[in-house]
Symmetry: C2
Subunit: 109 residues, 2 copies
Amino acid sequence: MGATKTDHFTEKQNEIATFAKALGHPARIAIIEYLLKTDSCICGDIVNIIPLAQPTVSQHLKELKNAGLIKGNIEGNSICYCIDDKTWKKFEKTLGSLFIKYDLQKKCC
Amino acid sequence: MGATKTDHFTEKQNEIATFAKALGHPARIAIIEYLLKTDSCICGDIVNIIPLAQPTVSQHLKELKNAGLIKGNIEGNSICYCIDDKTWKKFEKTLGSLFIKYDLQKKCC
DNA sequence: AATCATTATCGTAATATTGCAATATACAAA
DNA sequence: TTTGTATATTGCAATATTACGATAATGATT
């Protein structure tokens, strides 16, 4: 097949998977890291930082945006991409709960 | 094309992306959640929990194992899969640093 | 209006992922 | 040794991802 059977899993499981999948490429990690460490968020700057062609970077930005991890605001002639506060914190919280569960568990192997 | 250009990114970026990618499927999230919430870790139990065919589950287990997130120990006739303590904590730490950076940043949009 | 700069989309090729039936392997028990 | 049980691998089809050149679309500037 090749299509994920999302129907068989909970909404939360699909949600975490969507976020994780969005971060599942080094270029997208690099974009997120850039947005975290700089005040600039102009698309053109991101394209210059990422060692891939402009259409490819645009595509990665789109995926991050679709996952809700970033949002784009028109800034004069260009576009300013930023971490989406709400989704990012939601992701942090959901993932955090996984790690907390681990700390509490007794390991069996 | 179709092949990620890992050479162009840092080792750390590739590492985070690998972990995130491994979690980028609801079935694999379900497997991790199961391992977190139960003492059992027998492969057969996992196969019964996940609503996919046994070979498919086996493949997902393999991917989690390749990413280093889980490990398998032979337990008599079957195999016990567990969270890999070392990698899991490494992942928690690396991801955590991303979220910490966010809390400190000034948002520009 | 014409031009330039910025970003998105299209089209396409290469590769990867998802899923399962069929089969193989490995080990325990009878 | 044969049979059963548990897990992995193979092979294949459908779909998704990655990447980029070419091109379109948008908005600013002249």
